[in-house]
């Protein structure tokens, strides 16, 4: 399984995925499990001062407003009960039935070079029906031992459902989709049973964990914005962004109003409603050697009013333009192994990729997965001063709104803080309702985008350290480490655009992330921007190579894509000093810049 993590840039998905064809990069250096951390090669005395983290949280039950309950919940509940009464009596009985109806209004405006290029404002509804047939111990969702094409998996499709709350119209859609999904589940269970009958080693862990019923009603949110004001702002923004080396300068917003109604046969009835806003400034150019160079800055908020002011957007523009011009003139880097600093946001992305995806519970169960962390529960995998948890209940961290906030997951389980690494020891996994050995309950991390089956995903990943140094000292420590390792320079990564991590047992258990802004730091303090590299390695070694952390914590907000679709996430971490990091040459597409020079921007004289 591979993931891409473009962190908010859906457009970057293609780039990230295209750059990493085939899965895995063959970089595996380990032939067996890594022994627990024994102290490392160097010892650094770090002050016992925790990195600064102030947060605000909101419990799932906060804001429960029973008087705002939509009749849609009653319609879903009635049909769910009617269907279950019939389906549980069948030869292949259904034991669980869930309806999730999602309504999304998505406003999307993009301007390029001063002109509006995209203007859409659409509302869609999608119905997801999950039917489980058999028993929680063995049901239709059990993976077949060999099913490379996922033929036994539910078909991904849009579940058409009418707008409004008309009982007949909605109930007919529910009935149709239940009939289709039940039939699909019965067919799948037949293959599961056949598969199990011929397997020597059968998996003893159940396929599904029950959960307590939840009843929660959130008042309907409203999306407020002045369209023309935003169009004008985006035009101005993109006109400013198209300068310097950039041949593309785009500014865009995505505003969403989401409403979710979720009912299941356990008795859960949940109504959620929230808005979100996203602003992006993006510039790009092709380097002279054909490499696509791009810089993207994004900001997220709960409402359009939370987005940066025009003055702040100007700073974002200046930042991406400055970076792009510098990248355009930067030399290609050569492969490197040595010490490096991952700056706050880059460290957050690094943790999300290298650790976060592997700690998603169901991956420890996948028979074709590498199950990297399954045997490390209770063992040291990181420095004892480092703690990692995922908590979707956090609304703000150090004043920044976190993108991975939610109250209930897509499996009707309330969001909970889950401790993943406690003082260096692996203690937990992000769990959906697919149990694994030793972790038989969901902790509210079953997530999806509409139309796909939910799996365990990250929400707000937080890396906390009990010992830290000021960021400026981290750079001094890097130079000392450069000297100790007799390297010509160290590296500093300030931005990572995304990457992937391979968890399939067929390929090395390796990761690869794509740093966009990478600097060489020489002994004399000189910094040199370089381009065209990837960071690769294996997760256990990477975690054990962390030597120090900064007091300052940064947050990266984004959107993460995996098998259950795109979900909003965040990753917060201090800057980290890594003793050894491996850098290899990145993918440069076999292209060349346009044959002719750009046309004059001004109209030519007749």
């Amino acid at each position: 399984m591979r993931w891409t993590f473009p962190l908010g840039a859906v457009a970057a998905l293609a780039v990230a995925a295209a750059a990493c064809p085939g899965g895995g990069n063959g970089n595996g250096k380990l032939t067996g499990p890594v022994p627990p951390l024994s102290g490392g090669e160097i010892r650094v005395d770090l002050p016992a001062i925790p990195a600064k983290i102030d947060m605000s949280t909101s419990a799932p039950s906060e804001g429960h407003s029973p008087d705002k309950r939509s009749p849609i919940l009653d319609i879903l509940k009635a049909e769910n009960e009617r269907e279950m009464a019939a389906l549980k009596k069948q030869k292949d009985p259904a034991y669980y039935l869930a309806y999730q109806l999602v309504e999304q209004r998505v406003v999307n405006l993009d301007a390029e070079g001063g002109a509006l290029i995209n203007d859409s404002d659409n509302v869609d509804r999608n119905l997801d029906v999950e039917v489980r047939v058999g028993t929680p111990e063995l049901d239709n969702t059990r993976a077949l031992a060999e099913d490379g094409n996922s033929l036994n998996a539910p078909l991904t499709r849009r579940g058409v459902v009418p707008f409004g709350d008309d009982k007949q119209a909605l109930t007919n859609a529910l009935w149709l989709e239940t009939d289709r999904r039940y039939r699909e589940a019965v067919i799948a269970l037949g293959y599961v049973r056949q598969d199990q009958a011929t397997l020597k080693n059968r998996h003893p862990v159940p396929d599904f964990s029950p959960s307590a019923p939840e009843v929660y009603v959130e008042a309907p949110a409203t999306l407020k914005f002045d369209k023309q004001t935003w169009i004008d702002r985006l035009k101005r923004c993109s006109a400013k962004a198209l300068k310097g080396q950039a041949t593309r300068g785009t500014c865009g917003i995505v505003f969403q109003l989401n409403t979710v109604w979720l009912v299941n046969s356990e008795g859960s009835q949940i109504q959620l409603s929230w808005t979100s806003a996203q602003l992006s400034v993006s510039v790009g150019v092709k380097a002279d050697d054909g490499m696509n160079l791009a810089r993207l800055e994004q900001r997220f908020g709960r409402t359009p009013a939370d987005l940066p002011s025009e003055a702040d957007v100007d700073k974002m523009i200046a930042s991406v333009n400055g970076d792009l011009d510098a990248l355009h003139d930067a030399p290609l880097a050569e492969p490197y192994v040595g010490p490096a600093i991952l700056e706050g946001r880059a460290a957050g992305v690094f943790f999300h990729e290298v650790f976060g995806h592997r700690i998603e519970g169901h991956r420890q169960k996948d028979t074709t997965g590498g199950q990297t962390f399954a045997s490390y529960v209770g063992k040291d995998i990181a420095p004892e001063w480092l703690t990692v948890y995922d908590d979707p209940q956090i609304r703000t961290l150090n004043g920044v709104q976190l993108n991975g906030f939610y109250r209930f997951d897509d499996e009707a389980v309330r969001a909970r803080r889950v401790s993943l690494i406690d003082k260096g020891k692996l203690v937990g996994f992000n769990m959906g309702r697919n149990p694994i050995k030793g972790f038989d309950k969901s902790n509210g991390h079953g997530r999806r985008s509409p139309g796909l089956p939910p799996v365990a995903r990250q929400g707000n990943l937080v890396v906390e350290v009990q010992k830290s140094v000021p960021r400026t000292d981290l750079e001094k420590m890097l130079l000392e480490e450069v000297k100790r390792q007799k390297r010509p320079y160290g590296m500093i990564f300030t931005d990572i655009s995304g990457g992937f991590t391979n968890t399939s047992a067929f390929a090395p258990q390796a990761f690869k992330v794509n740093p966009v802004m990478a600097y060489k730091l020489y002994a004399d303090g000189k910094k040199e921007l370089v381009r065209g590299i990837d960071i690769s390695g294996t997760p256990l070694v990477a975690l054990q190579s962390i030597r120090a952390a900064s007091r300052e914590v940064e947050t990266f907000n984004g959107v993460c894509g995996a098998e259950s679709g795109w979900v909003p996430v965040s990753a917060s971490a201090p800057s980290l000093l890594i003793e050894k990091i491996e850098v290899e040459k990145g993918f440069i597409p076999p292209d060349r810049p346009p044959v002719l020079q750009p046309p004059s921007i001004r109209k030519e004289a007749p």
Binding site: Q168, T171, V595
Partner: protein
């Protein structure tokens, strides 16, 4: 370039007067209220693109590689309002509005160039590249877009040419002295033509061809609004409420316009606008044995005024409900049948769509395709010009200049085709003899020139000649009742107990529903014969006493072109039918759940067929139980 996301092809001539009143009568005052011209593509933008085109044409060159010998741009502005509704409530309501610039670069020579060749394992290399333009005129962006898109298309064209040369020298594909690109035909200038502006060459070109210059914006009646459409769709879909026999139902209404501009280095500079509105009603049910049943109704016209009234559409909806209910109780076609088949109304249209129209194109199959894929291009009439191919009582004309047929508005026409060639009325078959095929500028024979029918793109990048408004006429037409007697007589003559009457063939673009599992869909891909016509979803056994018995599970066998040599008789009654020909095959549509998963089908090539009922002497028909599935465990709500 991969096929564009939108497949709204070909322009229809909708000059204000013609629009308001098909047939050319003076417009009513309120009908003449045309909308504004494009805000995105103005004279300034076209000048800018032309300037950049000239710069590219004169300067674009990679050392050691050929320069472009022809560059063409197609700018498309699409504005669509779509609403879908079920049981009185909208399921989808959306506007799509975008502007697209497509560059098409040819390298080599007209005798042998890169085009119409599918590069193995790289079918995206076709010398075509596209990019979106702003929704408001912005010369700076248009200039830059033209620069980038031309450069990308040029590089693709070079790779395609190299691969094509390699394939020919390796003997992998045909070697021929047929040119790759025919010269512009020497057609007369259109009525609204004016002298070309700027530095574009004046017509005609050496060799007699004449680039068309026609730059006056064609203004059309504004779209029906989303709210208007929604009200209609909801009202009509309400008819399906409280109908126990109906499993699922959908009413979809669309209103769209497509403005087009063509520019080429030959001097072509034309604009055209197409405007259409349509309604689709679909309903499904299930027979007692579980077989899935579907029925549909569709109408397209240039505006909503050409569509039936709400009351008429409600009436049609009721007919669909009755048909599904009757089919649920109808006997299965349980034995094979070989004998006469009468195609009445929409049934005749369906037969022509499936078994005749695909063969009328005169563009060669792209080189490099495997034989299975090549079959989807028809081609049964290739090389048969001058020969008898149809029954002598049948003649066929294709007329993109026609605004009406059988007294109804037609949507399959246009002024200029996708290669900037003026549309022409073409007599394809006269009294059964093949006169000519529908051609683009990619010829299939030496000396063949375009007759203005380039409207379908395919892998390899070339435009293919395709039907537009297809007029099928028959001699000695008889009243419908008499034709049924002829069917009975023909069946009797073969010793059959009954004759078969088909009134509707399925259209997977309309009726596909997500009823299958992933495993079943894979099975269907493996086992379905793509050459078969769609299932006949409204078919009757007609007994000697005149009794018509509805049957279900009727599947025509392959209808070879030779079957058209025995058209026993035709009706006096004429059916005029507009539709959008989806670029995907029926199987693909079935597998993907139709067009756009429940949205309105506003993608496809506008087409019209005008035909009498057709009685064919002998076809193979089999009974099929395809689509059987268990009846739902829980009864339909409210049942």
């Amino acid at each position: 370039m991969k096929r564009a996301l939108f497949v709204l092809l070909c322009g229809v001539v909708v000059a204000p007067s013609a629009l308001a009143k098909p047939g050319g009568a003076p417009p009513k005052k309120d009908d003449a209220a045309v909308g504004p011209p494009s805000k995105a593509i103005t004279d300034d933008i076209l000048d800018t693109i032309a300037e950049e085109m000239n710069r590219q044409f004169t300067q674009l060159e990679i050392p050691g590689a050929p320069k472009p010998y022809h560059i063409a741009y197609k700018v498309t502005e699409v504005d669509v309002n779509d609403v879908s509704a079920s049981l009185g409530h909208a399921t989808s309501k959306r506007n799509r509005h975008f502007v697209n610039l497509e560059a098409r670069v040819r390298v080599g020579t007209p005798q042998f160039d890169n085009s119409n060749y599918v590069v193995p394992q790289a079918d995206e290399l076709d010398g075509v590249s596209a990019i979106n333009l702003p929704l408001e005129a912005t010369p700076r962006i248009a200039r830059r877009a033209t620069w980038l898109v031309t450069d990308a298309a040029y590089k693709e064209a070079l790779m395609q040419l190299r691969a094509k040369m390699q394939a020919r020298s390796a003997g992998g594909t045909r070697s021929t002295d047929v040119p790759s690109f025919s010269p512009l035909p020497g057609t007369p200038a259109p009525k609204d033509a004016k002298e070309p502006k700027g530095d574009r060459p004046a017509a005609p070109l050496p060799g007699g061809g004449r680039p068309v210059v026609s730059e006056t914006p064609v203004l059309v009646v504004p779209l029906e609004t989303l709210d208007e459409i929604e009200v209609r769709a909801k009202a009509i879909s309400s008819v399906f409420r409280d109908q126990p026999a109906i499993r699922d139902s959908r009413v979809a209404i669309t209103s769209y316009l497509e403005r087009r501009w063509y520019l080429s280095t030959e001097g072509t500079a034309v604009t055209d606008t197409r405007r259409a509105s349509g309604v689709v009603i679909a309903a499904t049910g299930q027979a007692d044995n579980g077989q899935a049943l579907s029925q549909y109704f569709l109408r397209y016209g240039t505006t909503a005024k050409d569509l039936p009234t709400d009351d008429e559409l409600k009436g049609e909806s009721k007919k669909l409900i009755e048909a599904v209910g009757a089919l649920a109780k109808a006997p299965l076609m349980d034995s094979n049948y070989t004998g006469p088949v009468l195609f009445e109304g929409e049934g005749a249209v369906g037969l022509i769509r499936a078994s005749l129209a695909p063969h009328l194109g005169g563009t060669p199959v792209p080189e490099g395709l495997n034989p299975q894929e090549a079959k989807t291009f028809g081609g049964a009439l290739t090389g048969k010009v001058g020969q008898p191919v149809l029954s002598t009582n049948i003649s066929i004309t294709d007329d993109p200049t026609a605004k009406t047929g059988g007294g109804k508005a037609l949507i399959g026409g246009y002024k200029i085709d996708d290669e900037g060639v003026l549309s022409q009325r073409i007599e394809v078959i006269k009294d059964g003899i093949l006169k000519t095929l529908l051609t683009s500028r990619t010829p299939s024979a030496k000396g063949q020139v375009s007759n203005g029918h380039a409207r379908r793109t395919a892998d390899g990048g070339a435009f293919h000649g395709s039907a537009t408004n297809l007029f099928v006429t028959g001699k000695n037409g008889v009243p419908r009742a008499q034709l049924i007697q002829k069917l009975i007589a023909a069946a009797k003559a073969r010793g059959l107990k009954y004759g078969l009457l088909i009134r509707r063939l399925d259209d997977a673009a309309i009726t596909s529903a997500p009823e299958f599992s992933r495993r079943e869909l894979v099975q269907m891909i493996k086992s379905t014969d793509q050459q078969l016509p769609p299932p006949a979803i409204l078919a009757y056994r007609v007994y000697p006493n005149g009794k018509q018995e509805l049957v279900r599970g009727v599947q025509l066998g392959e209808v070879p072109i030779q079957a058209w040599e025995d058209v026993l008789a035709v009706s006096k009654d004429i059916t005029t039918y507009n539709f959008l020909a989806a670029p995907e095959s029926q199987l693909q549509l079935r597998l993907t759940g139709g067009t756009d998963e429940g949205f309105v089908p506003s993608g496809g090539i506008e087409s019209g067929i005008i035909t009498p009922d057709l009685l064919l002497k002998r076809l193979d028909v089999v009974g099929t139980t395809a689509g059987e599935r268990p009846v739902p465990i829980a009864p339909k709500p409210g049942k």
